[in-house]
Subunit: 233 residues, 2 copies
DNA sequence: CGGGACATTGAAACGTCTCAAACGATGTGG
DNA sequence: CCACATCGTTTGAGACGTTTCAATGTCCCG
Protein backbone atom coordinates (compact mmCIF):
# COMPACT_ATOMS: atom_id res chain seq x y z
CA UNK A 1 0.00 0.00 0.00
CA UNK A 2 1.17 3.46 -0.84
CA UNK A 3 2.07 5.64 2.09
CA UNK A 4 -0.35 8.49 2.33
CA UNK A 5 2.43 11.04 1.93
CA UNK A 6 3.07 9.83 -1.57
CA UNK A 7 -0.35 11.07 -2.65
CA UNK A 8 -3.66 9.43 -3.41
CA UNK A 9 -3.78 5.79 -4.44
CA UNK A 10 -6.54 3.82 -6.07
CA UNK A 11 -7.90 0.41 -5.41
CA UNK A 12 -8.23 -1.09 -8.82
CA UNK A 13 -11.16 -3.07 -10.12
CA UNK A 14 -12.01 -4.58 -13.42
CA UNK A 15 -14.48 -4.20 -16.24
CA UNK A 16 -12.99 -6.93 -18.32
CA UNK A 17 -9.73 -8.83 -17.96
CA UNK A 18 -7.61 -6.12 -19.54
CA UNK A 19 -8.06 -4.14 -16.37
CA UNK A 20 -6.67 -6.15 -13.46
CA UNK A 21 -8.55 -5.97 -10.21
CA UNK A 22 -5.95 -6.80 -7.65
CA UNK A 23 -4.55 -3.71 -6.06
CA UNK A 24 -2.84 -1.87 -8.84
CA UNK A 25 -0.68 1.03 -7.94
CA UNK A 26 -0.66 4.16 -9.97
CA UNK A 27 2.54 4.95 -11.70
CA UNK A 28 4.63 7.58 -10.06
CA UNK A 29 3.71 10.03 -12.79
CA UNK A 30 0.01 9.45 -12.32
CA UNK A 31 0.25 9.73 -8.60
CA UNK A 32 2.00 13.04 -8.81
CA UNK A 33 -0.50 14.13 -11.42
CA UNK A 34 -3.41 13.35 -9.13
CA UNK A 35 -1.60 14.95 -6.22
CA UNK A 36 -1.08 18.05 -8.33
CA UNK A 37 -4.81 18.50 -8.94
CA UNK A 38 -5.97 17.42 -5.48
CA UNK A 39 -6.14 19.31 -2.22
CA UNK A 40 -6.08 17.67 1.19
CA UNK A 41 -8.87 18.22 3.70
CA UNK A 42 -9.27 17.01 7.27
CA UNK A 43 -12.54 16.43 9.10
CA UNK A 44 -13.41 15.60 12.71
CA UNK A 45 -15.86 12.74 13.44
CA UNK A 46 -19.52 13.28 12.60
CA UNK A 47 -18.92 16.07 10.13
CA UNK A 48 -21.05 16.38 6.98
CA UNK A 49 -18.81 16.50 3.89
CA UNK A 50 -21.68 17.37 1.58
CA UNK A 51 -25.44 16.97 1.44
CA UNK A 52 -27.62 15.09 -0.97
CA UNK A 53 -28.82 17.42 -3.68
CA UNK A 54 -26.00 19.92 -3.25
CA UNK A 55 -24.12 21.15 -6.27
CA UNK A 56 -21.56 18.50 -7.11
CA UNK A 57 -18.30 20.33 -7.45
CA UNK A 58 -15.73 17.81 -6.32
CA UNK A 59 -14.77 14.17 -6.32
CA UNK A 60 -13.05 12.75 -3.25
CA UNK A 61 -10.66 9.97 -2.37
CA UNK A 62 -10.37 8.79 1.23
CA UNK A 63 -6.81 8.92 2.51
CA UNK A 64 -7.57 7.83 6.03
CA UNK A 65 -10.60 7.19 8.23
CA UNK A 66 -14.14 5.88 7.84
CA UNK A 67 -17.09 7.57 6.13
CA UNK A 68 -20.73 6.81 5.42
CA UNK A 69 -22.84 7.74 2.40
CA UNK A 70 -26.59 7.82 2.94
CA UNK A 71 -29.94 9.04 1.69
CA UNK A 72 -32.81 10.38 3.74
CA UNK A 73 -36.14 9.01 2.59
CA UNK A 74 -39.53 10.77 2.48
CA UNK A 75 -40.70 8.77 5.52
CA UNK A 76 -37.84 10.13 7.59
CA UNK A 77 -36.01 6.83 7.45
CA UNK A 78 -32.33 6.87 6.61
CA UNK A 79 -30.64 4.44 4.28
CA UNK A 80 -26.87 4.01 4.50
CA UNK A 81 -25.75 3.15 0.98
CA UNK A 82 -22.06 2.56 1.63
CA UNK A 83 -19.24 2.74 4.13
CA UNK A 84 -16.04 4.13 2.68
CA UNK A 85 -12.47 3.52 3.84
CA UNK A 86 -8.94 4.35 2.78
CA UNK A 87 -8.46 4.50 -1.00
CA UNK A 88 -12.17 4.53 -1.74
CA UNK A 89 -13.46 7.24 -4.06
CA UNK A 90 -16.81 8.99 -3.81
CA UNK A 91 -18.73 11.92 -5.21
CA UNK A 92 -21.30 10.25 -7.41
CA UNK A 93 -23.58 12.83 -8.99
CA UNK A 94 -26.72 13.01 -11.09
CA UNK A 95 -27.71 16.09 -13.10
CA UNK A 96 -24.92 17.98 -11.42
CA UNK A 97 -26.12 17.20 -7.90
CA UNK A 98 -24.77 14.76 -5.36
CA UNK A 99 -26.85 11.62 -5.02
CA UNK A 100 -26.04 10.99 -1.35
CA UNK A 101 -25.17 12.83 1.79
CA UNK A 102 -21.73 11.96 3.11
CA UNK A 103 -20.68 12.15 6.75
CA UNK A 104 -17.49 11.22 8.54
CA UNK A 105 -17.53 8.53 11.21
CA UNK A 106 -13.99 8.79 12.51
CA UNK A 107 -11.47 11.51 12.00
CA UNK A 108 -10.87 11.62 8.25
CA UNK A 109 -8.32 12.89 5.76
CA UNK A 110 -9.55 13.37 2.19
CA UNK A 111 -8.16 14.19 -1.21
CA UNK A 112 -10.46 16.58 -2.96
CA UNK A 113 -10.42 17.08 -6.73
CA UNK A 114 -12.53 19.65 -8.51
CA UNK A 115 -14.76 17.83 -10.99
CA UNK A 116 -14.00 20.15 -13.89
CA UNK A 117 -10.29 19.71 -13.31
CA UNK A 118 -10.67 15.95 -13.11
CA UNK A 119 -12.77 15.78 -16.27
CA UNK A 120 -10.09 17.65 -18.19
CA UNK A 121 -7.35 15.43 -16.80
CA UNK A 122 -9.28 12.31 -17.76
CA UNK A 123 -9.80 13.51 -21.32
CA UNK A 124 -6.11 14.20 -21.70
CA UNK A 125 -4.94 10.98 -20.11
CA UNK A 126 -6.54 7.71 -21.12
CA UNK A 127 -4.47 5.74 -18.67
CA UNK A 128 -5.66 7.87 -15.79
CA UNK A 129 -9.25 7.58 -16.99
CA UNK A 130 -8.84 3.80 -17.13
CA UNK A 131 -7.70 3.84 -13.53
CA UNK A 132 -10.80 5.71 -12.50
CA UNK A 133 -12.86 3.26 -14.52
CA UNK A 134 -11.32 0.45 -12.49
CA UNK A 135 -12.21 2.41 -9.40
CA UNK A 136 -15.82 2.75 -10.49
CA UNK A 137 -15.97 -0.98 -11.22
CA UNK A 138 -14.70 -1.61 -7.72
CA UNK A 139 -17.47 0.53 -6.27
CA UNK A 140 -19.94 -1.30 -8.48
CA UNK A 141 -18.84 -4.64 -7.09
CA UNK A 142 -19.17 -3.21 -3.61
CA UNK A 143 -22.76 -2.20 -4.33
CA UNK A 144 -23.47 -5.69 -5.64
CA UNK A 145 -22.04 -7.33 -2.56
CA UNK A 146 -24.35 -5.02 -0.64
CA UNK A 147 -27.20 -6.34 -2.78
CA UNK A 148 -26.26 -9.89 -1.91
CA UNK A 149 -26.31 -9.04 1.77
CA UNK A 150 -29.71 -7.35 1.53
CA UNK A 151 -31.12 -10.36 -0.28
CA UNK A 152 -30.74 -12.50 2.82
CA UNK A 153 -33.74 -12.64 5.11
CA UNK A 154 -31.96 -13.67 8.31
CA UNK A 155 -30.38 -11.01 10.47
CA UNK A 156 -27.40 -13.08 11.67
CA UNK A 157 -26.49 -13.98 8.10
CA UNK A 158 -26.50 -10.33 7.08
CA UNK A 159 -24.37 -9.42 10.07
CA UNK A 160 -21.87 -12.16 9.31
CA UNK A 161 -21.49 -11.04 5.70
CA UNK A 162 -21.16 -7.47 6.88
CA UNK A 163 -18.37 -8.37 9.30
CA UNK A 164 -16.59 -10.28 6.56
CA UNK A 165 -16.81 -7.24 4.34
CA UNK A 166 -15.33 -5.03 7.05
CA UNK A 167 -12.51 -7.50 7.55
CA UNK A 168 -11.64 -7.25 3.87
CA UNK A 169 -11.98 -3.49 3.65
CA UNK A 170 -9.98 -2.52 6.68
CA UNK A 171 -7.60 -5.37 7.53
CA UNK A 172 -5.60 -5.10 10.75
CA UNK A 173 -2.35 -6.67 11.80
CA UNK A 174 -4.08 -8.47 14.66
CA UNK A 175 -7.10 -10.55 13.74
CA UNK A 176 -9.57 -8.04 15.07
CA UNK A 177 -12.30 -6.16 13.27
CA UNK A 178 -13.17 -2.52 13.83
CA UNK A 179 -16.79 -1.42 14.03
CA UNK A 180 -16.32 2.35 13.99
CA UNK A 181 -19.96 3.04 13.03
CA UNK A 182 -22.96 2.99 15.36
CA UNK A 183 -25.44 0.12 15.61
CA UNK A 184 -27.95 2.44 14.04
CA UNK A 185 -25.72 2.98 11.00
CA UNK A 186 -25.23 -0.76 10.67
CA UNK A 187 -28.99 -1.27 10.85
CA UNK A 188 -29.59 1.34 8.16
CA UNK A 189 -26.97 -0.31 5.97
CA UNK A 190 -28.28 -3.84 6.43
CA UNK A 191 -31.95 -2.95 6.16
CA UNK A 192 -32.68 -4.06 9.72
CA UNK A 193 -33.92 -2.38 12.86
CA UNK A 194 -31.32 -1.43 15.47
CA UNK A 195 -32.84 -4.00 17.79
CA UNK A 196 -32.34 -6.78 15.28
CA UNK A 197 -28.71 -5.79 14.84
CA UNK A 198 -28.18 -5.85 18.56
CA UNK A 199 -29.89 -9.20 18.92
CA UNK A 200 -27.97 -10.74 16.05
CA UNK A 201 -24.64 -9.60 17.45
CA UNK A 202 -25.63 -10.90 20.87
CA UNK A 203 -26.51 -14.24 19.32
CA UNK A 204 -23.18 -14.45 17.51
CA UNK A 205 -21.41 -13.68 20.76
CA UNK A 206 -23.50 -16.07 22.85
CA UNK A 207 -22.79 -18.92 20.41
CA UNK A 208 -19.06 -18.17 20.63
CA UNK A 209 -18.71 -17.26 16.96
CA UNK A 210 -17.35 -13.83 17.81
CA UNK A 211 -16.06 -12.06 20.92
CA UNK A 212 -16.34 -8.35 21.61
CA UNK A 213 -13.58 -6.16 23.01
CA UNK A 214 -15.63 -3.12 23.77
CA UNK A 215 -18.54 -2.18 21.54
CA UNK A 216 -16.52 -1.16 18.52
CA UNK A 217 -14.00 -3.97 18.21
CA UNK A 218 -14.39 -7.72 17.93
CA UNK A 219 -12.62 -10.93 17.05
CA UNK A 220 -13.82 -13.98 15.18
CA UNK A 221 -13.48 -16.95 17.52
CA UNK A 222 -14.88 -19.78 15.44
CA UNK A 223 -13.92 -19.23 11.83
CA UNK A 224 -15.49 -22.42 10.43
CA UNK A 225 -18.83 -21.71 12.08
CA UNK A 226 -18.57 -18.13 10.89
CA UNK A 227 -17.94 -19.17 7.28
CA UNK A 228 -20.81 -21.59 7.49
CA UNK A 229 -23.19 -18.81 8.45
CA UNK A 230 -21.87 -16.59 5.66
CA UNK A 231 -22.33 -19.33 3.05
CA UNK A 232 -25.72 -20.42 4.35
CA UNK A 233 -27.46 -18.59 1.57
CA UNK B 1 -31.28 7.78 -29.64
CA UNK B 2 -28.77 6.51 -32.12
CA UNK B 3 -30.09 4.04 -34.64
CA UNK B 4 -28.50 0.70 -34.08
CA UNK B 5 -27.02 0.68 -37.57
CA UNK B 6 -24.88 3.63 -36.64
CA UNK B 7 -23.02 1.54 -34.09
CA UNK B 8 -23.15 1.19 -30.33
CA UNK B 9 -24.32 4.08 -28.20
CA UNK B 10 -23.83 4.70 -24.53
CA UNK B 11 -26.14 5.92 -21.86
CA UNK B 12 -24.13 8.47 -20.00
CA UNK B 13 -23.91 8.82 -16.26
CA UNK B 14 -21.92 11.03 -14.01
CA UNK B 15 -19.16 10.84 -11.45
CA UNK B 16 -19.08 14.52 -10.80
CA UNK B 17 -20.65 17.39 -12.70
CA UNK B 18 -17.98 17.55 -15.37
CA UNK B 19 -19.50 14.40 -16.79
CA UNK B 20 -23.13 15.08 -17.68
CA UNK B 21 -25.62 12.33 -17.03
CA UNK B 22 -28.34 13.08 -19.48
CA UNK B 23 -28.06 10.93 -22.54
CA UNK B 24 -24.86 11.99 -24.18
CA UNK B 25 -24.19 10.79 -27.63
CA UNK B 26 -20.80 9.67 -28.70
CA UNK B 27 -19.18 11.75 -31.35
CA UNK B 28 -19.27 10.29 -34.79
CA UNK B 29 -15.58 9.48 -34.57
CA UNK B 30 -16.04 7.62 -31.31
CA UNK B 31 -19.00 5.70 -32.59
CA UNK B 32 -17.15 4.54 -35.61
CA UNK B 33 -14.17 3.73 -33.41
CA UNK B 34 -16.28 1.54 -31.17
CA UNK B 35 -17.96 -0.01 -34.17
CA UNK B 36 -14.57 -0.76 -35.62
CA UNK B 37 -13.49 -2.77 -32.59
CA UNK B 38 -16.87 -4.41 -31.88
CA UNK B 39 -18.52 -7.42 -33.46
CA UNK B 40 -22.26 -8.01 -33.51
CA UNK B 41 -23.78 -11.17 -32.05
CA UNK B 42 -27.38 -12.38 -31.98
CA UNK B 43 -28.92 -14.70 -29.41
CA UNK B 44 -32.30 -16.42 -29.12
CA UNK B 45 -34.25 -16.22 -25.83
CA UNK B 46 -32.93 -18.14 -22.86
CA UNK B 47 -29.38 -18.43 -24.15
CA UNK B 48 -26.42 -18.22 -21.78
CA UNK B 49 -23.99 -15.51 -22.98
CA UNK B 50 -21.32 -16.51 -20.46
CA UNK B 51 -21.10 -18.22 -17.10
CA UNK B 52 -19.95 -16.95 -13.75
CA UNK B 53 -16.29 -17.80 -13.26
CA UNK B 54 -15.53 -18.15 -16.96
CA UNK B 55 -12.51 -16.42 -18.41
CA UNK B 56 -13.52 -12.83 -19.04
CA UNK B 57 -12.52 -12.09 -22.59
CA UNK B 58 -15.09 -9.60 -23.75
CA UNK B 59 -17.17 -6.63 -22.73
CA UNK B 60 -20.66 -6.28 -24.20
CA UNK B 61 -23.14 -3.57 -25.01
CA UNK B 62 -26.79 -4.42 -25.52
CA UNK B 63 -28.10 -3.21 -28.86
CA UNK B 64 -31.57 -4.68 -28.54
CA UNK B 65 -33.46 -7.01 -26.22
CA UNK B 66 -33.54 -7.87 -22.52
CA UNK B 67 -30.93 -9.74 -20.49
CA UNK B 68 -30.43 -10.83 -16.90
CA UNK B 69 -27.21 -11.10 -14.89
CA UNK B 70 -27.30 -13.47 -11.93
CA UNK B 71 -25.29 -15.49 -9.45
CA UNK B 72 -26.00 -18.98 -8.22
CA UNK B 73 -25.49 -19.30 -4.48
CA UNK B 74 -24.15 -22.27 -2.52
CA UNK B 75 -27.65 -23.11 -1.29
CA UNK B 76 -28.87 -23.49 -4.86
CA UNK B 77 -30.75 -20.23 -4.69
CA UNK B 78 -30.36 -17.82 -7.58
CA UNK B 79 -29.92 -14.10 -7.21
CA UNK B 80 -30.66 -11.85 -10.16
CA UNK B 81 -28.30 -8.90 -9.83
CA UNK B 82 -29.51 -6.83 -12.77
CA UNK B 83 -31.75 -6.66 -15.80
CA UNK B 84 -30.07 -5.11 -18.83
CA UNK B 85 -31.69 -3.36 -21.77
CA UNK B 86 -30.67 -1.44 -24.88
CA UNK B 87 -27.48 0.61 -24.46
CA UNK B 88 -26.52 -1.05 -21.19
CA UNK B 89 -22.98 -2.40 -20.91
CA UNK B 90 -21.95 -5.52 -19.05
CA UNK B 91 -18.97 -7.82 -18.57
CA UNK B 92 -17.85 -7.02 -15.06
CA UNK B 93 -14.92 -9.22 -14.05
CA UNK B 94 -12.81 -10.00 -11.03
CA UNK B 95 -9.35 -11.59 -11.26
CA UNK B 96 -9.94 -12.15 -14.93
CA UNK B 97 -13.18 -14.06 -14.40
CA UNK B 98 -16.74 -12.96 -14.92
CA UNK B 99 -18.57 -12.16 -11.70
CA UNK B 100 -22.03 -13.14 -12.94
CA UNK B 101 -23.70 -15.47 -15.34
CA UNK B 102 -25.57 -13.68 -18.08
CA UNK B 103 -28.59 -15.06 -19.92
CA UNK B 104 -30.88 -13.61 -22.56
CA UNK B 105 -34.57 -13.17 -21.80
CA UNK B 106 -35.83 -12.10 -25.19
CA UNK B 107 -34.13 -12.28 -28.55
CA UNK B 108 -31.02 -10.13 -28.20
CA UNK B 109 -28.48 -8.35 -30.37
CA UNK B 110 -25.16 -7.53 -28.72
CA UNK B 111 -21.99 -5.62 -29.48
CA UNK B 112 -19.01 -7.59 -28.33
CA UNK B 113 -15.61 -5.98 -27.72
CA UNK B 114 -12.54 -7.97 -26.81
CA UNK B 115 -11.29 -6.72 -23.46
CA UNK B 116 -7.66 -6.40 -24.55
CA UNK B 117 -8.73 -4.36 -27.56
CA UNK B 118 -10.93 -2.17 -25.42
CA UNK B 119 -8.21 -1.62 -22.83
CA UNK B 120 -5.83 -0.41 -25.52
CA UNK B 121 -8.46 1.88 -27.04
CA UNK B 122 -9.22 3.36 -23.63
CA UNK B 123 -5.56 4.08 -22.95
CA UNK B 124 -5.19 5.86 -26.27
CA UNK B 125 -8.40 7.84 -26.02
CA UNK B 126 -9.21 9.64 -22.79
CA UNK B 127 -12.52 10.87 -24.11
CA UNK B 128 -13.61 7.34 -24.90
CA UNK B 129 -12.46 6.17 -21.47
CA UNK B 130 -14.46 8.98 -19.88
CA UNK B 131 -17.52 7.77 -21.73
CA UNK B 132 -17.08 4.30 -20.32
CA UNK B 133 -16.55 5.83 -16.89
CA UNK B 134 -19.91 7.55 -17.25
CA UNK B 135 -21.35 4.20 -18.25
CA UNK B 136 -19.94 2.54 -15.14
CA UNK B 137 -21.35 5.33 -12.98
CA UNK B 138 -24.72 4.69 -14.57
CA UNK B 139 -24.51 1.01 -13.66
CA UNK B 140 -23.46 2.00 -10.17
CA UNK B 141 -26.54 4.15 -9.75
CA UNK B 142 -28.61 1.27 -11.02
CA UNK B 143 -27.14 -1.02 -8.37
CA UNK B 144 -27.91 1.60 -5.73
CA UNK B 145 -31.49 1.93 -6.84
CA UNK B 146 -31.62 -1.84 -6.53
CA UNK B 147 -30.32 -1.43 -2.97
CA UNK B 148 -33.08 1.03 -2.20
CA UNK B 149 -35.66 -1.43 -3.48
CA UNK B 150 -34.23 -4.29 -1.42
CA UNK B 151 -34.27 -2.11 1.68
CA UNK B 152 -38.05 -2.02 1.67
CA UNK B 153 -39.77 -4.68 3.72
CA UNK B 154 -43.14 -4.64 1.96
CA UNK B 155 -43.61 -6.66 -1.19
CA UNK B 156 -46.00 -4.27 -2.96
CA UNK B 157 -43.61 -1.37 -2.41
CA UNK B 158 -40.77 -3.33 -3.97
CA UNK B 159 -42.92 -4.28 -6.92
CA UNK B 160 -44.04 -0.70 -7.46
CA UNK B 161 -40.45 0.57 -7.46
CA UNK B 162 -39.51 -2.24 -9.80
CA UNK B 163 -42.26 -1.35 -12.26
CA UNK B 164 -41.20 2.29 -12.14
CA UNK B 165 -37.65 1.24 -12.93
CA UNK B 166 -38.83 -0.81 -15.92
CA UNK B 167 -40.86 2.12 -17.18
CA UNK B 168 -37.73 4.29 -17.15
CA UNK B 169 -35.46 1.68 -18.68
CA UNK B 170 -37.62 0.60 -21.56
CA UNK B 171 -40.10 3.37 -22.33
CA UNK B 172 -42.81 2.65 -24.90
CA UNK B 173 -44.83 4.94 -27.10
CA UNK B 174 -48.03 3.76 -25.44
CA UNK B 175 -48.17 3.99 -21.66
CA UNK B 176 -47.65 0.27 -21.16
CA UNK B 177 -44.87 -1.56 -19.37
CA UNK B 178 -43.25 -4.74 -20.59
CA UNK B 179 -42.47 -7.54 -18.15
CA UNK B 180 -40.38 -9.78 -20.38
CA UNK B 181 -38.89 -11.73 -17.47
CA UNK B 182 -40.55 -14.51 -15.52
CA UNK B 183 -42.13 -14.06 -12.09
CA UNK B 184 -39.33 -16.18 -10.76
CA UNK B 185 -36.72 -13.79 -12.16
CA UNK B 186 -38.56 -10.86 -10.64
CA UNK B 187 -38.65 -12.64 -7.29
CA UNK B 188 -34.94 -13.36 -7.43
CA UNK B 189 -34.26 -9.73 -8.28
CA UNK B 190 -36.47 -8.31 -5.55
CA UNK B 191 -35.41 -10.75 -2.85
CA UNK B 192 -38.92 -12.20 -2.52
CA UNK B 193 -40.51 -15.58 -3.06
CA UNK B 194 -42.35 -16.14 -6.33
CA UNK B 195 -45.58 -16.39 -4.36
CA UNK B 196 -45.08 -12.98 -2.79
CA UNK B 197 -44.49 -11.46 -6.21
CA UNK B 198 -47.64 -13.03 -7.51
CA UNK B 199 -49.65 -11.90 -4.51
CA UNK B 200 -48.30 -8.35 -4.66
CA UNK B 201 -49.13 -8.02 -8.35
CA UNK B 202 -52.59 -9.42 -7.70
CA UNK B 203 -53.09 -6.88 -4.95
CA UNK B 204 -52.00 -4.01 -7.19
CA UNK B 205 -54.43 -5.21 -9.83
CA UNK B 206 -57.29 -5.80 -7.39
CA UNK B 207 -56.91 -2.28 -6.00
CA UNK B 208 -57.00 -0.88 -9.53
CA UNK B 209 -53.51 0.56 -9.40
CA UNK B 210 -52.43 -1.42 -12.45
CA UNK B 211 -54.13 -3.49 -15.13
CA UNK B 212 -52.62 -6.49 -16.91
CA UNK B 213 -52.82 -7.19 -20.62
CA UNK B 214 -51.58 -10.73 -20.59
CA UNK B 215 -48.94 -11.80 -18.10
CA UNK B 216 -46.07 -9.83 -19.58
CA UNK B 217 -47.59 -6.44 -20.21
CA UNK B 218 -49.41 -3.99 -17.96
CA UNK B 219 -50.62 -0.43 -17.65
CA UNK B 220 -50.66 1.91 -14.69
CA UNK B 221 -54.26 2.91 -14.06
CA UNK B 222 -53.97 5.09 -11.00
CA UNK B 223 -50.77 7.07 -11.21
CA UNK B 224 -51.21 9.08 -7.97
CA UNK B 225 -51.89 5.95 -5.94
CA UNK B 226 -48.94 4.28 -7.62
CA UNK B 227 -46.58 7.15 -6.78
CA UNK B 228 -47.84 7.11 -3.24
CA UNK B 229 -46.88 3.48 -2.85
CA UNK B 230 -43.47 4.11 -4.38
CA UNK B 231 -42.77 7.01 -2.02
CA UNK B 232 -44.15 5.26 1.04
CA UNK B 233 -40.68 4.52 2.26
C1' DC C 1 -54.02 -32.26 -28.19
C1' DG C 2 -50.97 -33.35 -24.42
C1' DG C 3 -47.09 -32.45 -21.48
C1' DG C 4 -44.39 -29.50 -18.71
C1' DA C 5 -43.12 -25.23 -17.14
C1' DC C 6 -44.98 -21.17 -15.30
C1' DA C 7 -48.32 -18.82 -12.39
C1' DT C 8 -51.89 -18.20 -8.90
C1' DT C 9 -54.17 -19.10 -4.52
C1' DG C 10 -54.72 -21.06 0.35
C1' DA C 11 -53.29 -22.14 5.38
C1' DA C 12 -49.76 -22.55 9.00
C1' DA C 13 -44.97 -21.31 10.92
C1' DC C 14 -41.26 -18.51 11.40
C1' DG C 15 -38.71 -14.26 12.08
C1' DT C 16 -38.42 -9.49 12.13
C1' DC C 17 -40.71 -5.06 13.31
C1' DT C 18 -42.79 -2.19 16.55
C1' DC C 19 -43.61 -0.49 21.01
C1' DA C 20 -41.80 -0.17 25.57
C1' DA C 21 -38.64 -0.23 29.27
C1' DA C 22 -34.17 -0.90 31.53
C1' DC C 23 -29.30 -0.52 31.14
C1' DG C 24 -24.68 1.56 30.24
C1' DA C 25 -21.43 5.04 28.97
C1' DT C 26 -20.44 9.86 28.46
C1' DG C 27 -20.15 14.68 29.58
C1' DT C 28 -21.83 18.72 32.24
C1' DG C 29 -22.91 21.49 36.17
C1' DG C 30 -23.47 21.85 41.01
C1' DC D 1 -16.45 14.28 43.27
C1' DC D 2 -21.00 13.20 42.69
C1' DA D 3 -25.70 13.88 40.80
C1' DC D 4 -27.92 14.25 36.64
C1' DA D 5 -29.26 14.52 31.82
C1' DT D 6 -28.49 12.54 27.41
C1' DC D 7 -27.44 9.41 23.96
C1' DG D 8 -26.60 4.82 22.36
C1' DT D 9 -27.35 0.06 23.35
C1' DT D 10 -29.55 -4.04 25.10
C1' DT D 11 -33.50 -6.83 26.26
C1' DG D 12 -38.57 -8.24 26.49
C1' DA D 13 -43.59 -9.27 24.59
C1' DG D 14 -47.05 -8.96 20.98
C1' DA D 15 -48.43 -7.96 16.05
C1' DC D 16 -47.61 -8.10 11.37
C1' DG D 17 -46.08 -9.83 6.91
C1' DT D 18 -43.42 -12.89 4.31
C1' DT D 19 -41.85 -17.72 3.73
C1' DT D 20 -42.89 -22.23 3.26
C1' DC D 21 -45.48 -26.20 1.89
C1' DA D 22 -49.17 -27.81 -0.88
C1' DA D 23 -52.61 -27.84 -4.41
C1' DT D 24 -54.89 -25.92 -8.27
C1' DG D 25 -54.97 -23.29 -12.47
C1' DT D 26 -53.04 -21.46 -16.80
C1' DC D 27 -50.18 -20.81 -20.74
C1' DC D 28 -47.04 -22.26 -24.30
C1' DC D 29 -44.51 -25.38 -27.19
C1' DG D 30 -43.81 -29.72 -29.17
Amino acid sequence: MITSDAGPSLRAASFGPGLPDVVRLLSSDQRTQIASIATVAEFPPGRIVYREGANAQSVFIVAEGAIKAFRDLPSGRRRVMAFLFADDAFGLAHTGHYVHSVQTITRVRLYRIRATTLAAALRDNGELASQFLCKAAHELRGAMRHNLILARRDAVGRLAMFLLMLEHNAPRHDARIDLPMSRSDIANYLGLSQESVSRALSRLERTSVIAFHGRHELRILDRPKFEKIVNAL
